[in-house]
Amino acid sequence: METLEPLLAEHPFVRGMSPSQIETVAGCASNVRFQTGQYLFKDGEEANQFYIIRKGRIAIEAASPTHDPILIHTYGDGEILGWSWLVPPYRWRFSGKALELTRVLMIDGKCLRGKCEKDHDLGYELLKRFADILAGRLDSARLQLIDMYASASKGRRR
């Protein structure tokens, strides 16, 4: 069977991991394609994966009972999507939909969680990387909240 290790090894996410750690992560990876409009995951579903976007674009949507889903963020080439697999209760907080034909490496988080419990060095390496991703997401969300381009004169700042 074709291994995804070479593909994964090129990604900055695994930079600094040992070859055996990369091999372990690659062992939980599969190559997946999503068509335009197809959902990768839906709000509330069990979160057992994360994704490395190879090419394409994914929208994160929040469901609304009265409106169309609200588009919160889009992710593109090279970005990592999904951290809910790492934090109990392991459920997606939002939905993820492909905005165009999108190729991803899908990593089985459930499989990886098990491996991290047995190998804390691997767990620490992964946690460091996801802490960095989460910090970036928090910064982005806070900046979006500030509404920084609104002007002071009509409740909108420059």
């Binding site: 970005e79 982005s140 900046l143 500030i146 609104a150 004169s153």
Partner: protein, 292 residues
Amino acid sequence: MTLAVAEAPAAAGRTGPPSDPMLPRPWRVCRSVRETDDTFTLELIPEPGQPVQPFAAGQFNMLYLPGIGEVPISISGDPTYPHTLVHTTRAVGAVTKKMAAIRRGDAIGVRGPFGTAWPVEDSEGNDVVFVAGGIGLAPLRPALIQVLSRRERYGRVVLLYGARTPDDILFRKQLREWRADFDLEIQVTVDRATHDWRGNVGVVTALISRVPFEPGHTVAMICGPEVMIRYTVMELERRGVTPDRAYVSLERNMKCAVGFCGHCQLGPLFICKDGPIFPYEKVAVLLSQREV
């Protein structure tokens, strides 16, 4: 009639204003373009006999409406055509709202150009990452025009641009043309999407991880709200671009524009004469301070 093209000044240097820097000179609006709901571009030509000053990308003029007031506005046009001054302005208050209503043929006073420039020539040989937020694309536009006119002298050139909503995106047509005509990677994002928007959603800083550039050989030029500038520099640092490679454009309320009055003072610096373009390191600690 073809006007003689004045030579563009050295990019990193400062271009002196005409002999009396406090005296507005008469120019006339030859074109007025509504860019968005609250932002407009004025193209100005000098009244006959008025001198044309060369300007550098990043410099600004004081625009004067008699009886109303005077405001600093960056030049958003091509530095190789200083005989037409282009200014893109967001109507936010007393003067800029009145300015939004002026039309072709109307008179306007101009003092300038003032201030420091983007390091366009000093960046040759490097990758260049432009990061613009909101109206911040306007002061960066002359630098982009200059870099694209000598495209072969630079490595990768990237423009990351964030707007509040799709309706707030400036220079749409030019962005499309640049994308088609130049080796320029452009990524546009909005903080808030509308239902018909098919592009990126999220703050402009989130785009930094998506584009290719060589961190050790990159110069970043950043213009937008100060909070965006700070987060952009941090995000660039995460990608390996050290803050000494970042240049930013700052704004403070301004009156004289020549360093007399102290209105635009930021710590030991005067935005009007030491800026508005600064190496980030020079202003980093001052950025979170409120205006004096």
